[in-house]
């Protein structure tokens, strides 16, 4: 059962399995475990980026196609929904038209990119995608009357997905981290801490939207997992390993590469549409910016290229760091309370510096990403065990003879 849901591609590491289960529970029960709007936004962004990074990994990790146009497709999806709702009003029909239009545009652009550039070598393809992405960004910024320029567009979601819609009243949640905090810092207040940890969840249309997002992220992830373990996925890996030989075996690699670019673009576009509905506001900065592209690349590499589970781990680690590393630094600088250079180093707004250092260290020590490294460790452990078994067997035999 689990084998077929995960398409036979199990985590293959105990630590990874535990982490994935914990993430699954946290995302599934998130609105009931973590109070506050920031936690809610963090959960949603994790789901969005799981789709985006997994789709990107399909290109980067599984086929070794380096593209910088990924945010362009994300933006097309986000703006597609925003414009659809802007023109046709806050209905599901408008959303549908917006998504459909965005998917068509993305497919056409991806096909063009694929056909124009996949015949050239990797670095030139990357440069072409970079140029196209920048061109698209400036077009969106310039066309103020349609896209709102730098100001972006507000997305007036249907009432059922908005904060005013209250399908359930007074649902109770349990503040997990609050309780754990009490447990570790004031264990004598355990009973009070337990009682205080219960809070009232504002279950609104936004919560519904979150669950739609969560569901889509799960389904798309499992779909991609199936894809990379299918005959199609094997050919992608063959292209990654040795495109020349894949051709000599009779595979038309241009077809596969183009198909992957299009598929990845479509999924990313869809993720962009979901983002627009969840975030209810799109602008060039949160959908098309080059910084966002770098973030996607970071998540992919951090989690582990060529392992779809890496997309989950990378997205969780990055989005959580993005939202909470500032708090950690803030608490640290308050506790240490030094001025000057050292003080400015642990300034909360300098979180990206620390994240950058963590990233460099992780790439240096774990070049195959978090998931890759966990799998290497699990494999080593397994090998040590089999060696140990062999040794005990042979020494037992020796004793017999």
């Amino acid at each position: 059962m689990l084998q077929s849901i995960l398409s036979g591609d199990l985590p293959r590491s105990r630590v990874l399995s535990v982490a994935l289960i914990a993430i699954l529970i946290a995302l599934a029960l998130g609105p009931f475990l973590f109070p506050g709007t920031r936690a809610f936004a963090t959960l949603g962004m994790i789901c969005v980026f799981i789709i985006v990074v997994a789709a990107y990994d399909l290109m980067l990790g599984y086929t070794h196609i380096v593209s910088f146009a990924h945010t362009m497709f994300f933006g097309i999806g986000a703006y597609g929904v925003a414009l659809g709702i802007g023109h046709f009003g806050s209905g599901f029909g408008a959303i549908f038209i917006g998504i459909l239009g965005a998917l068509l545009l993305s497919a056409a652009l991806a096909l063009l990119l694929g056909l124009l550039s996949l015949r050239v070598k990797a670095i030139f393809f990357a440069l072409v995608t970079l140029a196209v992405a920048f061109a698209f960004l400036s077009v969106v910024t310039q066309m103020y009357h349609i896209t709102g320029g730098e100001d972006g567009l507000r997305v007036r979601v249907p009432r059922e997905l908005g904060p005013a819609f209250r399908p359930l009243d007074s649902v109770t949640g349990f503040d997990l981290f609050g309780f754990l905090g009490v447990l570790f810092t004031q264990p004598w207040n355990l009973v009070d801490g337990f009682r205080d940890a219960f809070f009232t969840v504002r279950f609104t249309g936004r919560t519904l939207m979150y669950y739609a997002l969560f569901l889509f992220a799960g389904v798309i992830f499992l779909f991609l997992l199936r894809l990379v373990n299918s005959p199609f996925g094997r050919v992608l890996q063959a292209i990654r390993e040795n495109e020349f030989r894949a051709q000599a075996l009779g595979y038309r690699t241009v077809f596969y590469r183009t198909a992957v670019v299009i598929l990845s673009a479509l999924l990313t576009t869809f993720a962009g549409a979901l983002f627009a509905l969840f975030n209810r506001y799109v602008n060039p900065e949160n959908t098309l910016n080059f910084e966002l592209m770098i973030f996607i690349l970071l998540m992919c590499v951090l989690g582990g290229m060529g392992t779809l589970y890496g997309a989950i781990i990378g997205a969780v680690v990055f989005v959580v760091a993005q939202n909470y590393l500032q708090d950690v630094l803030g608490a640290l600088s308050e506790a240490v309370n030094v001025g000057g250079f050292v003080g400015s180093l642990i300034e909360p707004s300098h979180w990206l510096l620390w994240f950058g250092l963590l990233f460099v260290a992780s790439v240096y020590f774990f070049p195959s990403g978090i998931v890759g490294q966990l799998r290497i460790w699990a494999r080593r452990r397994e090998m040590r065990q089999t060696v140990a078994e062999h040794q005990t067997e042979s020494s037992a035999k020796e004793r017999l003879t």
Binding site: S4, S230, P231, F244, A246
Partner: protein, 262 residues
């Protein structure tokens, strides 16, 4: 043999790199059920000629014909589809995939299932069985799950041969299949090629330096020198020919297997 249609033919096949003519007007035809060895000193154009036939290079002029059809303008993939199989001189595999996965890719190619994205690759029993069959064929069955990059050189060479066999082509092109193999591994590959020869509809082309191998296996020997075809005939006749002695074996005819032992 002239009345029979050639399975593979090159007509005035030529390629120039700048001013250097690597393959110079080579015309040669091969019939099914034969094994031809191409010999010649290093840099004679043997591998380049192979590359022109299998489509890795495009000729400056001349044609390649497969069963009478001009395939000079087809891509490598299309030529493989038409039954032209090639093993490479420098090991050319998928390093991070397992040995079995490598062979499975070759088997799956002829099934044309590469577009199927909804089925688990490992569920195709028949493909898996055939892949294991070819892996056993080159005596690598026990290495099925080992990533290729962990295999010793000799095993990688055997796997290279297994990939070619798994394509089940009409034309087999072996480019120094035994290069870098240990002495006890060589007979495995040679037996395999000898067995292939017994299937009458196959055409085998072999680039090989070990003269004892060449003598025992070949029906015919073609000698290339400076990109030109300088001799073509029965093994005994070719090896005795003074042109070959000078061009390939050097003036001292006494040390023909010198290169093999290197």
């Amino acid at each position: 043999m002239a009345d029979q249609q050639a399975v593979l033919e090159t007509r005035s096949l030529t390629i120039q790199f700048g001013g250097h003519v690597a393959v110079d007007e080579v015309s040669c035809a091969f019939q099914a059920g034969t094994l031809t060895t191409i010999i010649g000193p290093n840099g004679a154009g043997k591998t380049t000629w192979f590359n022109l036939i299998s489509g890795q290079l495009t000729p400056s002029s001349g044609q390649v014909l497969l069963a009478g059809e001009d395939i000079s303008n087809l891509s490598t993939e299309a030529r493989t589809d038409k039954g032209l199989g090639r093993a490479f001189q420098l090991t050319n595999l998928f390093p991070n995939l397992s040995a079995l996965e490598n062979v499975r890719l070759a088997v799956a190619s002829s099934y044309r299932i590469g577009h199927i994205f909804w089925q688990r690759a490992s569920l195709r029993r028949d493909i898996e069985d055939r892949a294991r069959h070819y892996l056993d064929f080159v005596r690598l069955g026990h290495r099925a799950d080992t990533p290729v990059s962990y295999l010793p050189h000799g095993d990688q060479r055997k796997l290279e041969v297994a990939l070619l066999m798994a394509l089940e082509p009409h034309v087999f092109m072996f480019d120094e299949p035994t290069a870098g193999m240990s002495v006890d591994e060589v007979p495995v590959i040679l037996d395999l090629i000898a067995n292939l020869k017994k299937q009458d509809d196959k055409l085998i082309l072999l680039v090989e330096h070990k003269m004892d191998v060449v003598r025992s296996l070949s029906d015919r020997i073609v000698v290339l020198h400076h990109g030109q075809l300088v001799a073509d005939g029965e093994p005994a006749e070719i090896i005795a020919s003074p042109v070959v002695q000078e061009a390939y074996l050097g003036t001292s005819a006494g040390a023909p297997t010198e290169e093999a032992s290197a």
